[in-house]
Symmetry: C2
Subunit: 376 residues, 2 copies
């Protein structure tokens, strides 16, 4: 808890530091937000006679938007998806929270990847769940299409391990942003076991907080009851705006633009890191917003982040992604999604200076345990 | 659970029935939504350079809005309230959910009023809490300023009973809509024990889902961790729009208009009910959206609601508000907030016909247990 608070305080300090190059946070690029389309949609839905965009709605969300989500998912997995199974949530995070509460109780174990989404891991901890390797629990949480922080699909051993349990929560938050085009979430032959999580946070904008949960019919009533208890319903206005925006833009064309945009940024940050920190290793991502770096040694996360912020760059510390407490070399997530690409060379040089300052004073590196199913 | 599902299905049927007069749901009046002000705010915040309205934000919410909420609450309770203690939530419901999760674990008891807000009671049940009378648990949930469904302040015995426990969750959702002006939430001398819940759902519009939680400093870290786990943060866009709207409108003048508007509707529905159902009793509300009626007999809630929907009117069944399973006469909430006032005479006549149909065939009424602290 102390370490978490210290890292949180450092992240806030970094965000408030003028001139710092932010490689932390996993934010989508502001300049890609479809402002004009959103503004037009807002005025249309506000003008609608029934006033539904400003009024209370049903806990499962608006019918039109749920049908749209079901249709898109159905096309990706090659199967019919029922709009009745879709619950619109306050972002993907709430979908994960409802899925976890539907499937596991305090004290239960949940299987996670060696490196996974920090807010999900933190949620599982705060709800009293024990984090264990994939395959060792009744419920698994994975990002099968594109991992965070790895930016890569879950590998075959990871998929097999996840499938050993009864339930799989498949967080597809980045799934439509694979550089080479479409990905297929876990689904085939597992429909009764997969709880699917998605969001428009990466493909439209996160501030609207519109995500979704697709549950097998057996879980529907409980998930809906939990959603209602949590906050009655997702934002009516945001749902109406997203639904209307999707009706008026070519969303697939937008995705194609975003994929090219983020791939070009990924390549540029990768070059900068290779040049400034040639002894570090990473696998080039298949999509998403970040590189998952492995340093050539181990130092304390907070010390490295403090030094980096002093040098004028931020990153996301590896320990927040490593729910299984891997004691390997220092790892860190650096995001190419939001900072200006022209700053990447500077950012990498600053990070290298911070590393030399801290690692020069660090204890010698110890060999790490094997990390099964690590995608990167 | 079966009863709940049946009532839910009836509520949905009612909402989809053309020509039905809706006295159910507790919705604010659409025509009072400040559409023009919201639209102007939306365009301003979308135009802002930093793009914050569409981007991720911190889990506690936007600083300007938190300061505004703290200042308003401080003025009402006559004490300094720190913006640091405010967490912006996805409506009041999420604030209640976070408060409950911060203070009670599955199996714990929570004290509630004899008639209280159904979605809070249902949340407590789904989280495994036991509902007990006020004063018999470490944590109490009350609506001290204006109760739902009663529309009246918590009486002195109720306040004393709630104060017997360690913690009070004070849900002030309607507190700014007392017909005679301002109310003061529970606060004086209890600051370290009160978790305050508020919302803009009744005073601006519910579709934005902007509520708040004000916690004593000792609870701040845990509440914030729960908020982050639940859904990362409240909708950035809605927060920015509410903050900007409050900066541009005279909110106190708006509240004065709303109070007059709802009081006039309350009087009109009260007259209609007294005329059509003279044997029923209720106390005229001090504010809020509804009348809490007590019938002159007892029938099954679902049967009465089914008959009412057949007659073309809806209401909220009393059993959903009565967490302590009072076996007294049938009670029901009828809302004057959203339906057209010209329809109130018809609505009351339809309700009276439904009552006669069902009550004529009902078992004889049995004397009820004493219901302490019932405000209405």
């Amino acid at each position: 808890v102390t370490a978490r608070r210290e890292l949180d305080a450092l992240a806030r300090r970094a965000a408030a530091t003028p001139g710092l190059i932010p490689l932390a946070g996993g934010l989508p690029a502001d300049r890609q937000f479809p402002r004009a389309a959103l503004a037009a949609s807002f005025l249309r839905v506000l003008d609608a006679r029934d006033g539904a965009a400003l009024q209370y709605g049903w806990p499962e969300g608006q019918g039109g938007l749920r049908a749209r989500i079901a249709a898109r998912l159905g096309a990706r997995v090659g199967a019919a998806v029922s709009a009745d199974d879709v619950i619109v949530t306050n972002g993907a995070q709430q979908a994960i929270a409802i899925a976890a509460a539907s499937l596991a109780r305090p004290g239960d174990a949940i299987g996670v990847e060696p490196a996974s989404y920090p807010a999900a891991l933190e949620l599982f901890r705060v709800r009293g769940l024990r984090l264990v390797p994939l395959g060792e629990a009744r419920v698994s949480y994975v990002m099968s299409t594109l991992g965070n922080p790895t930016g890569r699909a879950l590998d075959a051993p990871g998929r097999r391990a996840a499938a050993r349990g009864r339930w799989i929560i498949d967080d597809d938050a980045y799934g439509e942003l694979a550089f080479e085009g479409r990905t297929a979430p876990l689904w085939q032959g597992r429909r009764g076991r997969v709880v699917h999580v998605g969001t428009f946070s990466k493909t439209l904008c996160p501030g609207l907080r519109v995500g979704w949960l697709v549950v097998p019919e057996a879980l529907r009533a409980r998930a809906l009851r939990l959603k209602h208890g949590d906050d009655l319903q997702a934002n009516s206005l945001a749902q109406a705006v997203v639904d209307d925006t999707l009706a008026h833009i070519d969303f697939d064309a937008r995705l194609a633009v975003l994929r090219r945009y983020y791939r070009s940024r990924a390549a540029r940050l990768a070059r900068a890191i290779r040049r400034a920190l040639p002894a570090w290793s990473f696998a080039f991502p298949e999509g998403g917003f970040s590189l998952w770096l492995e340093a050539d040694g181990r130092v304390d996360d907070a010390r490295l982040l403090r030094a980096a912020v002093d040098e004028g760059v931020s990153f996301d510390p590896g320990s927040t992604f490593e729910g299984l407490r891997d004691q390997g070399p220092t790892r860190l997530r650096v995001c190419y999604s939001a900072a200006a690409p022209e700053s990447f060379d500077d950012a990498a040089a600053r990070l290298a200076r911070a590393w030399r300052r801290v690692h020069g004073a660090a204890r010698p590196f110890r060999a790490r345990r094997a990390a099964p199913h690590l995608s990167s």
